[in-house]
């Protein structure tokens, strides 16, 4: 496939790996912020090919994972209403709220639909005037322009039966929170290429200077990721805390100005809760007051006072950061197995605990 295969080229990958090996002289901890990059790294097996000096930490850049429990519970409550058609991006449907998920709502007769674009949700609203269509507007800066555009389109079409449940978060705020945390040791960041395609990377320059860390705008294919990593390692080795763009075919410093204007027109900055992390000040978007009629939380005031219940967390956060080995968890192999997992690292085939469990069992045989 053109424009994809060349960035998965084995020869180029080996060349970049060799260059990283040649450049690196001491241990570095690098965080890829974005879940899309984590997925690509695991899917291509890149994590096992890096020199031992480099520790990769997977960042909290998975939009469905950080959407707060309270919002998921609100989504479930709204989607359960008979007059509602609830539209969502696909993988949000399986994220559990306090005991239920959107699959369960569908099984109980709720109308939950998976859409690829929020504009599809607007179209569903146009075709179903007797229903209220609610779109779950989640994600980082990447999905924000399309989600904002859906609101603008609904207003332009005079739709009274369309609303959005907004849970938008932003990357720079997450980097700031990570760097302000005394426990987290990250030497450099790979910034998410698609977020920077929209927002540019000027926002990261003050962060790099303030925290004295290199931040490299990085794409999503193996060659892109290694290119970003090599750039980051070079900056680290020469002690430079700068922002570099290693995804030039998509990203400009100023970003997509038109998309930013759409975001600003519809959304404003607000404090946001991140699931499993806590409230990060000024870390997300909410609808501006003039778009209040499209705000699902205002349209369904009964979901405001919703009681949430998070199940006890395992230590997968620690495992993910290499601070604990999977078998150091007291639940490992007892309460927590791939058949009945307590944490994401045991659920996913790509998870450290699942791999550890299975390979460990193999040695016993």
């Amino acid at each position: 496939m053109r424009y994809v295969d060349e960035y998965r080229d084995a020869g180029l990958t080996q060349k970049l790996l060799a260059e990283i090996r040649k450049t690196v002289t001491r241990p570095w901890t690098i965080m890829e912020v974005c879940g899309g990059q984590t997925h690509s790294i695991i899917k291509s097996g890149l994590d096992q090919m890096l020199p031992p000096e480099i520790t990769l930490i997977h960042g909290p850049g998975c939009p469905v994972c950080v959407t707060p429990l309270e919002l998921v519970d609100k989504a479930i409550a709204i989607a359960s209403r008979p007059e509602v058609i609830f539209a969502s991006y696909g993988d949000m449907v399986r994220v559990p709220g306090s005991g239920r998920d959107l699959f369960s709502v569908r099984a109980a007769g709720g109308d939950v639909r998976i859409v690829y674009s929020p504009l599809e949700a607007v179209e569903i609203a146009r075709r179903n005037p007797e229903k209220t269509v609610v779109f779950f507007a989640i994600g980082f800066e990447t999905t924000a322009p399309a989600n904002a555009m859906a609101v603008l389109q609904a207003r332009a079409q005079g739709l009274k039966n369309f609303a959005v449940l907004v849970s938008h978060v932003t990357v720079p705020a997450a980097i700031r929170a990570l760097m302000d945390s005394p426990e987290v040791r990250v030497d450099g960041f790979l910034a998410a290429g698609h977020v920077c395609t929209v927002m540019g990377y000027w926002e990261y320059e003050p962060l790099a200077a303030q925290y004295h860390i290199p931040i490299v705008v990085t794409g999503f294919e193996p060659v892109d990721i290694l290119n970003g990593m090599l750039t980051c390692v070079r900056l680290l080795e020469s002690g430079r805390a700068e922002v570099r763009n290693a995804y030039g075919r998509s990203v400009r410093r100023e970003g997509n100005v038109a998309a930013q204007a759409v975001i600003r027109q519809v959304f404003e900055m607000t404090d946001r809760a991140w699931r499993g992390i806590g409230v990060i000040p000024m870390s997300g978007y909410r609808l501006r007051a003039e778009f209040a009629e499209f705000d699902a939380e205002q349209r369904f005031p009964q979901v405001q006072a919703i009681a949430t219940h998070e199940s006890p967390l395992c230590i997968s956060g620690l495992v993910l950061q290499g601070l604990r080995r999977p078998d150091e968890c007291p639940a490992f192999g007892k309460e927590c197995t791939p058949q009945s997992p307590l944490g994401a690292t045991m659920v996913s085939s790509e998870g450290a605990c699942a791999a550890y469990y299975r390979y460990g069992r193999r040695h016993e045989r």
Partner: protein, 356 residues
């Protein structure tokens, strides 16, 4: 949610596994369906035949005048939406699906039954086209449809038409094919491009329609199996339907207590299927096929079987993709395009497009 920012205990929220009701994921051919079978159906129906857990069940010693031959029996239900899709329709699927389940035990398909659940309001013209397609598919597969049933449900209680087919076939003397027969050193083959059917159906699904040239691969596979059996020593056969290649390889690795390794690059994919999967955020290894099989064969037979497959109309793009190992029993590992490796697990439930 506390106000304190706690980055160290951050984790992805765990998807639910245990639902009090049936959800769509229970029918998706992945871990949830496997759990349902293992914990609910299998214990309730437990018997020596069901234990085979193959695509079809081989019933020994029911063939009086030919004690060396054995009957194989299977059933399958078809609930596809839309009913007509590029390259086929629900009628062809209903015949080929059951024919293929028999073929995967090395059984020559002989007789089918057909049960119809029709929704009030289904145009007779539509039913006629589906039944004609079934008749044509049965002729092509060399089977007779010898029993049937018809029920009608109220409007809104069905998706136009559901079809169940059951099938009986005859396992030829000396043929021993089953999911637990893979041995370390064996070679893994696929009979052609993966994911065509799933992408063809997705391309015309409401709300998702996109333009593609991909056609469903629905086809009866017994004649292909016959040529493979003549060419060499076949140990396991599976048709890679729901859950795709990934699910089949996992089931075989578990049933045979072996590991499986394959080269991702060697898996045949149509460029349009790769492109659609990239665009939709799906993994082609998990996409359904309706006319493709996965074979595990003795190493010394692999080249001869591959040649025989490629000479057959339903195996022209067959390929050797990997091998069976005596390490990591029960696990499937893919070598990636860039030379890395990853675990390829059973899908959990429904396939969902990723946002991130």
């Amino acid at each position: 949610m506390s106000d304190k920012v706690d980055l160290l205990s951050w984790t992805c929220p765990v998807p639910l596994r245990h639902y009090p009701t049936i959800v769509m994921g229970h029918g998706a051919g992945g871990q949830m369906m496997a759990d349902l079978i293992r914990h609910l159906f299998a214990p309730a129906f437990a018997n020596e035949w069901l234990e085979q857990m193959g695509d079809a069940t081989v019933l020994a010693a029911l063939t009086g005048d030919r004690p060396d031959a054995q009957l194989a029996f299977t059933t399958d239900s078809f609930v596809v939406s839309p009913l007509f899709f590029p390259g086929g329709n629900i009628g062809e699927l209903a015949v080929n699906g059951t024919v293929n389940d028999l073929a995967m035990r090395g059984a020559r398909p002989l007789f089918l039954s057909a049960g119809f659940i029709l929704e009030e309001g289904l145009p007779l013209e539509t039913l006629g086209r589906i039944v004609q397609a079934m008749a044509e598919a049965a002729r092509r597969a060399g089977v007779a449809i010898v029993a049937g049933d018809t029920k009608v449900v109220q409007k809104g209680h069905g998706d136009g038409i559901y079809i169940n087919t059951s099938g009986i076939g005859l396992v030829q003397p000396g043929v021993k094919i089953g999911p637990s027969n893979a041995r370390p050193g064996d070679v893994v083959l696929v009979s052609g491009t993966m994911g065509d059917h799933g992408i063809a159906v997705l391309s015309v699904r409401e709300g998702l329609a996109f333009e593609t040239t991909v056609q469903s691969d629905t086809a009866p596979l017994y004649s292909l199996v016959e040529t493979m059996l003549a060419a060499g020593e076949v140990h396991c056969l599976r048709d890679a339907t729901r859950g795709g290649l990934a699910a089949v390889l996992n089931e075989l690795a578990v049933a045979s207590h072996v590991g499986i390794e394959f080269e991702e690059q060697s898996v045949p994919l149509k460029p349009a299927v790769s492109a659609a999967c990239e665009m939709l955020g799906l993994d082609p290894l998990y996409i359904a096929n309706e006319g493709k099989l996965v074979a595990i064969v003795a190493a010394q037979s692999a080249e001869a079987i591959l040649a025989a497959m490629r000479a057959h109309e339903y195996g022209r793009e067959a390929a050797i993709i990997g091998r069976v190992t005596d390490t990591h029993a029960g696990l499937v590992i893919a070598r990636t395009a860039i030379g890395g490796q990853r675990l390829v697990d059973l899908p959990a439930g429904e396939l969902l497009p990723r946002i991130c």
